[in-house]
């Protein structure tokens, strides 16, 4: 042990001790020689005998050195020292190779940090791979992702054998008051089974006791670590009372940092008691459900069992369940599934970029290796084995890769803020996206494999050059030039793939930004309120609140219009209901439309164009005739070409009350520009109590938590927020507003994934193309140099300079065109991978393919211009006279 420490410590250290060894050996030999002389030998013979007795001075010295350090490491260090000298000797090649690697490694590492946080980092649950998210699916509409009814949830929970634990979540926006400023918080009311499902105990305190899921005993709360540190400063909170929507809750625990369930926004968890009445409720869709699959059961088997249970429920409760199935999604997919197709494409793209960079560096090293063939031949002649030479060259490559990777990590670190800016503020990760030890390890791995990848080929080619050939030949570069042309063709092919991808994504982004969202986001700010049921139980109270508030807002300076809606476009929220028109009875086959509960002023504030009829007014109240507005898609779907104004529509429920359609408005891209508009109907919030029957509670809750939109005449809409806040406080001092967002920021955020994908691929494509063109330039330059004598002969025999230039360009173009052709073919076959990301353009878009191909060919021709000119300036006289 100690011996090895000493030996490793001595690696690479040529110290005093080595010099002293020589003296020690000399002393030994001298003494021996004296002794032999004393026995009568002649001085020379005595010395020879002494060295023999020692076993050779050099041999002794070598054996001692072997013992002093660890030889393989010592040799490696020698190789490395030598490599550094060699790399310093050709700074241009070294710098350009390192720079290309740096860019490629920066891209790879930056992407790794994202992939690591999103796809690799464990979810904040025990054995998170056993967790699945359950939704109901409305079969006639093929609408998955519908929230769950308490009745169905309880049936699944009691029947599924393959599920170890299951919990239902009711997501609420509530007002947290009584300690500090009133704030709106996202509360997750979780049913019995929460603790066993997530498998993570609170950091501080305890989880909910079983009896706390009984109705009336649920006034306990567990808070998130973030809320604990921001609102309570990390002070002891166990047993502290908080007030949610005017009801007191006792804090019993704090979850660990990074814990999120079921979304990152939830800051407080409370028990959700499910009662006998809930057991019979199979129509009120409002819960989320998460289940833990029993150990030893596959997710697929659990899903199959749950589908069977859904089928049983369809048979047992045809009235409510005939059209309902469920969906089972692994937790990670449910959390980040929307980003995986983009990440997959980006991983592929950055891998291609890395290969292009490696191929390019391989090309550089290949030609430099040939320039060094004499040096290598000398080394071989001096007894260096072929393996030793290959190892020497590989060491150079790996060191080069290491330098490039170090620069790349630095570049990635510098680029990190811009990369972070591509993500929306609320982008969910339970592990920060950062260059950490894992990312560094990854970058090191990339560097070593790159070094091996681009180093092997040139090393083998260079080491194969025989001593005799190297000592005499001058044109051993012919084969290498061909190899390099091949490498360049590969680079061009891969660059073409990336550039085509970037062009397709850029067109997608352009398409999405020019799509008419159906409303004008400029100058509009939105914010949410949530009126607690304790004080706003009566419908009239809620109406008075909104009516008074909106009237006050409209009187604020610079406010153009103000209104409110239960599901703002781009918020991701929606609600659907079946409808029927013109007196037809409601059936199971009735079509379904999305509905928006709005106040007067909403359409005006959003500037949603009115196509026919009128907007809602303050007259459309509960004691006036019921009215509705439909969008153009619903008009087309229900009335075809007829004008629906004056027609009648009903929204289901047993009362079957009919509303008169008073207006038609333009389609709104509710789910962002990429999703086509859906049929939508608008209801006045003030008339809800007269039409609600089934699911009345859900509708009432929606009405209590509307999103207010305020549109200003000019300038930044955020300036009115303080006025809005004051107006709300005036009406109800304990009522906060939250989620203040401008509609333009929501618009921009809805495009973030497309924008990030387009930007990243553009950067990768541009880098790959630049590398490939550098490769073209380098290969052409080298080809001209290698064919110098041949070109000189041609010139001497009277070839026109133009012909010589064409020869060079044609040679380069042949490779480039082959590369482009392969690239286009590759892009077409990879089209399926990106088609999920494309909107308004297809992967096989001919103008894109032709345009990119033409541009790359022209750029290739341009890149050969300097070498071609150099070829025409060869002076036959000097070239042919000089033997070398």
């Amino acid at each position: 042990m100690r011996e090895w420490v000493m030996r490793l410590l001595s690696v690479g250290r040529r110290g005093r001790r080595d010099a002293e060894l020589d003296e020690e050996i000399r002393f030994h030999v001298d003494e021996l020689a004296h002794a032999f002389e004393a026995r009568g030998l002649a001085p020379a013979a005595a010395r020879a005998a002494a060295e023999r007795e020692l076993g050779g001075v050099e041999h002794t010295r070598q054996a001692w050195r072997d013992q002093r350090t660890w030889l393989p490491l010592e040799e490696l260090l020698q190789d490395a020292r030598y490599a550094l000298r060699v790399l310093r000797r050709s700074p241009a090649v070294t710098a350009s190779a390192a720079l290309m690697l740096a860019v490629a490694v920066a891209g790879t590492t930056a992407l790794f940090t994202v992939v690591d946080a999103v796809l690799l980092a464990p979810l904040p649950y025990a054995h998170a791979d056993r967790l699945v998210v359950l939704y109901e699916e409305y079969l006639t509409l093929h609408a998955p992702g519908v929230s769950v009814t308490p009745g169905n949830f309880l049936a699944w929970q009691s029947r599924a054998r393959s599920i170890a634990a299951m919990t239902a979540i009711d997501l609420r926006q509530q007002n947290l008051t009584a300690d500090g400023d009133p704030v709106q918080v996202n509360v997750g009311a979780v049913s019995r089974g929460f603790a066993a499902t997530v498998g993570v105990p609170p950091n501080v305190g305890r989880t909910f006791a079983d009896e706390e899921f009984e109705p009336g005993r649920e006034r306990v709360a567990i808070i998130s670590h973030a809320l604990w540190t921001t609102r309570y400063g990390g002070a002891p909170v166990d047993g502290r009372t908080i007030v949610l929507d005017d009801r007191p809750y006792t804090i019993v625990g704090v979850m660990p940092p990074g814990f999120l369930f079921p979304t990152a926004e939830v800051a407080i968890w409370v028990p959700l008691p499910l009662t006998a009445a809930d057991r019979e409720n199979r129509t009120g869709h409002g819960l989320r459900a998460v289940a833990r699959v029993r150990d030893g059961v596959t997710i697929a088997a659990a899903a199959a069992e749950l589908h069977d249970i859904a089928a049983q429920l369809r048979r047992e409760f045809p009235d409510s369940n005939r059209e309902w199935d469920l969906t089972v999604t692994p937790a990670r997919e449910a959390l980040v599934g929307n980003t995986t197709p983009v990440l997959a494409v980006m991983i592929g793209a950055v891998a291609l970029l890395l290969v292009v960079a490696c191929a390019n560096v391989a090309g550089l090293l290949l030609t430099r290796g040939l320039a060094r063939s004499r040096e290598l031949a000398v080394r071989a002649a001096l007894g260096a084995g072929r393996l030793r030479i290959v190892r020497q060259l590989l060491t150079e490559s790996v060191i080069l890769a290491g330098v490039g990777a170090a620069a790349g990590v630095l570049l990635a670190w510098i680029a990190q803020p811009s990369l972070a800016a591509l993500r929306p503020a609320g982008f969910l990760t339970w592990k920060p996206v950062a260059i950490d030890a894992r990312a560094l390890l990854f970058a090191a791995g990339v560097a070593v494999s790159c070094g091996a990848l681009f180093g092997t080929l040139p090393a083998i080619v260079a080491s194969r050059t025989s001593i005799a050939a190297a000592a005499t030949a001058r044109s051993s570069g012919r084969g290498a030039a061909r190899l390099r042309t091949t490498l360049v063709a590969v680079e061009i092919a891969l660059a073409v793939v990336l550039v085509i991808g970037a062009a397709l994504l850029a067109q997608t982004l352009r398409h999405l930004t020019v799509v008419d969202p159906g409303f004008h986001p400029e100058g509009v700010v939105s914010m949410t309120v949530s009126l607690p049921a304790t004080r706003y139980g009566a419908d009239a109270t809620v109406d008075v609140f909104y009516r008074t508030l909106l009237a006050r807002l409209r009187s604020l300076p610079r406010v153009r219009a103000a209104g409110a809606v239960q599901a703002l476009p781009l918020s991701g929220n929606t609600s659907v209901r079946p409808y029927s028109i013109d007196g037809a009875p409601m059936t199971r086959a009735s079509p379904v439309a999305h509905y928006r509960i709005v106040t007067p002023g909403y359409l005006e504030a959003m500037r949603i164009p009115l196509r026919a009829g009128r907007a809602f007014t303050d007259e459309d109240t509960a004691d006036h005739p019921l009215v509705a507005i439909v969008n153009e898609t619903l008009r087309r779907q229900a009335w075809g070409t007829r004008n629906p104004v004056g027609a009648r529509i009903t929204f289901g429920g047993s009362t079957g009350r009919w509303a008169e359609v008073v207006g038609v408005v333009a389609d709104v891209r509710h789910f962002g520009p990429a999703a086509p508009p859906a049929p939508e109907m608008y209801w006045p919030a003030a008339q809800l109590d007269t039409l609600t029957t089934g699911g009345a509670d859900t509708l009432r809750r929606m009405r209590r938590g509307l999103t207010i939109v305020v549109s200003v005449t000019d300038g930044d809409p955020l300036v009115v927020v303080s006025g809005v806040r004051a107006a709300v406080r005036d009406l109800d001092p304990s009522q906060p507003i939250a989620n203040v967002r401008t509609l333009t920021s929501l618009m921009s955020e809805s495009l973030w994934l497309s924008r990030a994908a387009a930007w990243l691929l553009t950067i990768f494509g541009a880098a790959a193309l630049a590398f490939a063109l550098l490769g073209v330039f380098g290969a052409a330059s080298y080809a001209v140099a290698a064919r110098r004598r041949e070109l000189a002969v041609r010139l001497a025999l009277g070839a026109a300079p133009g012909a010589i230039a064409r020869l060079v360009v044609r040679h380069a173009l042949a490779g480039a065109i082959a590369g482009v052709a392969i690239g286009v073919a590759l892009a077409l076959s990879l089209g399926r991978a990106v088609s999920a990301l494309l909107v308004g353009v297809t992967a096989g878009d001919a103008p894109t393919l032709v345009g990119v191909s033409a541009a790359v060919v022209i750029a290739t021709a341009a890149a050969t211009w300097i070498p071609a000119r150099r070829a025409t300036r060869i002076d036959p006289n000097t070239t042919l006279r000089n033997a070398d």
Partner: protein, 112 residues
């Protein structure tokens, strides 16, 4: 140098060096080599060069330490000395050697 001399058994050089240093006290490489050959009555063939890696090894293991000094004829030379750890090691190896050689001798006598 005659062919009748026995080669030093693998692994026993360390023991011989430790013992020599134990007897002589601090000594330089040449002195150690001469002492081993004298004591063995010139019956052992010692490739004297192998002494130096062995001394370095013993030093790396912490059994001997070395410092520069002056030889009898006033030349600079490196003197090696046993450390307390080296002395313990010598006792250990000596008793091992006695045990092993005793066993081997017994076996050889039995089969003779």
């Amino acid at each position: 140098m005659g062919g009748e001399k026995a080669d030093i058994l693998r692994g026993t050089l360390d023991l011989l060096v430790l013992k020599t240093l134990d007897v002589l006290g601090p000594m330089h490489g040449y002195g150690i080599a001469q002492r081993i050959q004298q004591v063995s009555g010139d019956l052992l063939s010692l490739n004297q060069g192998t002494l130096y890696p062995a001394l370095l090894r013993l030093e790396q293991r912490g059994w001997v330490q070395s410092r520069l000094g002056t030889s009898d004829n006033n030349r600079r030379a490196r003197f090696y000395a046993l450390t307390p750890a080296g002395r313990r090691q010598l006792r250990q190896e000596t008793s091992d050697w006695v045990k092993v050689s005793g066993v081997i001798n017994r076996i050889l006598r039995a089969t003779d």
